[in-house]
Symmetry: D2
Subunit: 323 residues, 4 copies
């Protein structure tokens, strides 16, 4: 395994027969990592290596590659699971804060987890293959800090679009993703928390153009209608793009693990999209809020909040998969 | 960190501010292992490296050494916790099966855990420093297979007495342990499960002497009284040794996580010891049995069983620590 | 206590110092019911008699009266709790199915409970005084069976408006309720489930006018837009009425304990109401769905479902009460 | 139903199809009590009336009789359950404190419950018919206050032996119980807590004989050996009586819901009994202690403590019933 980074190292988890056995920092350089040893040769094992940390957009040297696999047994095909789910989101979907002491406040890779996280828990409960696209701090229209470039829709159609750096480009990042290669039954979009946060953050000035961006609050503390409409338009446009890329999938917009201030706008946008397109295969689902008992590190949902959200979401998706 | 072994590799867990962040196999050779990076330099962190696997008696090359610690911060003293507890036991106390898929059946280091285990959970709940001496398969009088040498009492007074090999000896193993260096408030002994199992195992023949050992069952399925008495005598003698080494500690014999067939014998032995010595500071406490819901891998108690046992034990020890 | 009925008897619960001690059927006639006896005379007790069953609209003889209270102690004033909450709803809010074996299918008073019910659990968690107006099967626009008369808004402003019968009228029912006598901090409206169900029920013919009522489904199984709009209009009008009666209350429309098909329409209606009135003090909150594990009798939410809903709602209302 | 009492009224619970629907005080006099009404006539219902309060030894007028049953349906035979369990005990087994607010301190019938209680929960989990003989404050050798007459063994062989009063005698109390009429598979004895408490209570003087009774503590706070031996002798004798009355039953002595000080003596007594009689069908099982979280009213085990004890006991008894 080869890893590189300027600042943000990678972490992986090793899952044997469905149980997480190991979780480790992958330090820079090229090393063999022993996945398992000593087990009975006559039993087939399911071995999974899970990348625990999201791609790190701000670290252009960010790299994690598997060059080779050495075994003294035999590799057997892994059968597909009966369902396919795609999750799109922000820090919540990246599992930021799902692990670590509550007092931790640093924005570091160690506090990300792809397993203690509603995506993995939901996929396992549904017995589904899944993939995750998420970036901490990003939104539909804008990031938490009013930076309009940190929006997921702009990069959705690329391979590893949120990465940066020439080396990543040379390795294939930023090229068009072939959506026909893997078509999900369900697309879960968990975005809006940072778009909501932007209303409460200072303005952001684009260093390139000098242009200033700000989602504004009215004097009475409510959201500026024009700016909220921009969020709704971005949501509608993202739904159009998602549908183009995933023609047969049910699309569920989920929201609520860190409060529900944007929910009326999300419902309005989904309504407007459905009215415009006559697409019936889209819905909205509220996830349970995080509480003092269920919070994790970095004031983000902890394992208990992710488990609770996964249980509710699983119930909801199960009904959809039945149809 | 340097590791060596013939068969059984070591595993460690890294705990930051009380939260397990990493768990990894320590493969043979000498390497730097990065414990943490990227955290705020102005905050004091508590970093703990926990050896997840018991000393491996059957692997004489078994070795784990920390040679050096490299930091770019400052090391601060760790304050003692208000209580000290020592745990003595077998596979249950070694956390065998506390981690891993239920279907796992191999006896391998990966399936041992020092954190998903009643010792760690109890010590944390009591806010106690603790140490653990335990060997999978061992007993008070005899191991599970009727091998009389795999008994904990014979090695209790040595440093790493259960290890083997000349290198370990050269490194200080087998020398007398200085009990004055760390006197526990409570000694928890969780032994008897393998002594009970020996009644149901085939006889064991000592390869050195040719002598055959067997804890016998009566025809009606009850324990042979003479053999049971030998267990009780061994228990009495171990209590005498424990008291000699730990003059002021309360000694609790706990038992029951894998059934209670030896409980009457344990009560008789503790009674006999107390009568003989007038030592009042000894008691017996039954731990909850493992069920289908709480079982882990290798038919051993899982995390749920360990958590339940720890909760009951914590309540019991708290009363003792009050006095 | 005096009770009367044609078909549907009343039930009460007796709560002593916050703990339910007794629950009993109140059979027809006039009897003394002993609330408590034998307790220490020197301790003040809090005694509450809770009417467990909703007013029974279809039974015009339905009556429950307390004529007198006999005590051998002293009655002390009960201090107001710091908050006041009003709950408005249908069978869910009436606690239908919150008690009784899962197999029970009869529509009988025994299966109603005012204590095993999200209203009581939420009010206790918030330390709030509360009142409940609810009718099983009723809606905002229409009942579950397309009967347009079984709508809560039409009766909201009356004292016991949903009752029937001349005796009840003589006793004061149907007169105007004096809303100034008790102004809630929060009004929780949990309606919409029966309006949704009406789309799947046969048409209802008014026996008086011969007029036929039906909320229609489109051929593709979606809701007829005109009929859905009628529901939204009824919702808007009910919000206007609620605001008129409760000028300072936060109004929360909650929904979801038996699925969420009407949620987009509810969001649209609340949005439209807010746009029209500039009233900011209204919101929507999704309650967790009932599952096979949490269901009660009569295919309604059971105690577990009510407890889960109450926990989520309590967290949400606590934030509102803070402001 | 006819009830009478000087001081301590009776309470009953009504259980329909396994779900408790009603719990009510049965006041003095003779009344009809409606068990159920309004249910579908075509469905068979299982209706159980449970006497919630133990016989009240100190109230010789204590009486509860069912004179007649009026139905408009048909009575069907109730099939026997596959197992039979008998529970013998004290206040814990009488469910004292299993219901009611934690602050309640009065010794009154309202705070007894036969359903929120480990006997009912265990029997239901085992799918067993069961019966209960228990008296609050009583022991094997002596009551909590050193009164030697409040011991269960003396009355075990009589019908309602613990009752008092001529009317009860005329109604059949105190006559010999015909043990052949109902032979349990398992006898659970939960006694010892009051025998232990007697060591800490003042002496009791027999008003008839003037004789003084006291279980003594040694100066160092341990139990006087002679007095403890008297308890062990009483335990042995009770086991002999239990065996005579229940020749084929497995007898389990359980203990621990309010601490374990008498456990060594119980083990010694059971050991001595087994040695003396060669009876193998007797064992001891520790129940989980009550904690601050699980305590009920009157400083007794609450519903959570009873549920936890029932879960552990069920697991243990299930193994015994397998053999």
């Amino acid at each position: 395994m080869e890893a590189d980074y300027q600042v943000y190292e990678q972490w992986i988890s090793i899952v044997i027969n469905g149980a997480p056995m190991s979780r480790l920092m992958v330090t820079a350089g090229r090393h063999w990592i022993c996945l398992l040893r000593g087990l009975n040769r006559d039993m087939v094992k399911n071995v999974r290596v899970v990348k625990d940390v999201q791609p790190m957009n701000s670290d252009s040297r960010c790299l994690l590659q598997i060059h080779a696999l050495k075994i003294d047994g035999e590799l057997l095909p892994v059968t597909d699971k009966p369902h396919k789910v795609e999750f799109i989101g922000d820090s919540i979907t990246s599992g930021e804060g799902g692990i670590g002491a509550k007092e931790e406040a640093d924005w570091i890779p160690m506090l990300f987890t792809a397993l203690h996280n509603y995506t993995a828990i939901t996929a396992e409960a549904l017995n589904a293959d899944y993939r995750v696209l998420s970036q901490s701090g990003w939104g539909v229209l804008t990031g938490w800090d009013n930076n309009p470039h940190t929006n997921i829709p702009a990069y959705y159609e690329q391979v590893c679009g949120v990465l940066t750096g020439e080396r990543n480009e040379a390795l294939g990042a930023f090229s068009d993703h072939d959506f026909t290669s893997w078509q999900p039954d369900i697309v879960v979009v968990n975005l809006g928390s940072n778009d909501g946060g932007a209303f409460y953050s200072p303005a952001w000035t684009d260093p390139a153009s000098g242009k200033v961006y700000k989602q504004r609050l009215n004097e009475d503390g409510t959201f500026n209608e024009e700016d909220l409409q921009a969020f709704e338009n971005a949501t509608i446009n993202f739904l159009i793009k998602l549908r183009a890329c995933n023609p047969a999938a049910h699309i569920v917009w989920v929201y609520g693990m860190l409060g529900t201030p944007m929910m009326p706008a999300i419902y309005r946008a989904v309504d407007a999209y459905k009215k415009k397109t006559r697409d019936r295969n889209v819905s909205v689902f509220q996830l349970p809020n995080t509480t003092e008992e269920t919070i994790g590190s970095r004031s983000h949902p902890g394992l208990l909040a992710h488990t609770k959200a996964a249980n509710e979401l699983t119930g909801y998706l199960r009904e959809i998969l039945k149809n």
